[in-house]
Symmetry: C2
Subunit: 164 residues, 2 copies
């Protein structure tokens, strides 16, 4: 099976398949005479596993650990469970961090007229020393979570020098 087919079958782009192979997450693919990578069902299976783990927010690194756990038929289910639950804690830390942000922002916004007048408590707050920190919350939450694939839908609007 060509890389294109494997990509289609697994939902992992050809680009990413090569990348995963290059960092050692994936075993080196078999090659055909012509140099093309050749995949079989087991490879596609691994790719789907990876895809799924990534969708659950596991980093590529953690995904490697999961794959290793999966291959190690003698691991204790407790190991897997604790691994997963550690990830859940990371996720939840991230969630409460984001929630603190939305709380603060909604609070500020609720005091903003939202009309033609220029005065706005949101900016005033940002511009005021010692105001709305969100940091007591944020300070605690230093997990590494970063959900994969986010780059497509961007907002793009800044990019000219602010002053010059």
């Amino acid at each position: 099976m060509n890389i294109g087919k494997a990509a289609e079958a697994s939902g992992v782009s050809a680009k990413m398949i090569r990348y995963y192979e290059s960092i050692g997450l994936l075993a080196k693919a078999a090659r055909r005479e012509n140099g093309y990578r050749d995949y079989d069902e087991r490879d596609v299976h691994d790719l789907r596993f990876i895809k799924r783990a990534r969708n659950l927010g596991f980093s590529v690194e953690a995904t490697g650990d999961l794959l290793a756990l999966w291959r190690d038929k003698s691991r204790a289910s407790a190991d897997v469970k604790s691994f997963a639950m550690r990830h859940v804690s990371d996720l939840e830390a991230k969630i409460s961090e984001l929630q603190a942000m939305t709380r603060t922002l909604r609070h500020l916004a609720s005091h903003c007229h939202g009309d033609e007048r220029p005065d706005c408590p949101i900016l005033d707050d940002l511009a005021t020393p010692g105001a709305g920190e969100t940091d007591q919350d944020a300070q605690v939450n230093r997990a590494k979570v970063r959900k994969p694939r986010d780059a497509g839908t961007q907002i793009r609007s800044f990019r000219r020098p602010v002053t010059a």
Copy 2:
């Protein structure tokens, strides 16, 4: 004021101050005879503004927009409010994405014995085509949120080739 003092006073590292200047988020700093950057209270104020915006999860890009809004004394508060609320939506999209992940993981983990036996529904699920997707949720949430500063607290454990 030296960059070090400005960093201390604003909570933005010297490194980041230079970076923000280099990408045009911050005006080019005044220089003294010796080439050292020189900051005054207004600069520190801007830095604190940036710091605060970043803590609220605004991207550097969005922070530039906020700074521009703040400097534009004639902007309507409605503009600021809608800008902030768009960000809140992004945050909330991210939150529900992460929540979907934790839900799925907690669900899987709840079916895992977590003992010495090797069989584990978590891995089984990852390894099974068509199982626990989280993707209907995730599909919708493609905002660009990515809270700043996360790199310090890493997990580090993977890095040897999975097969070789």
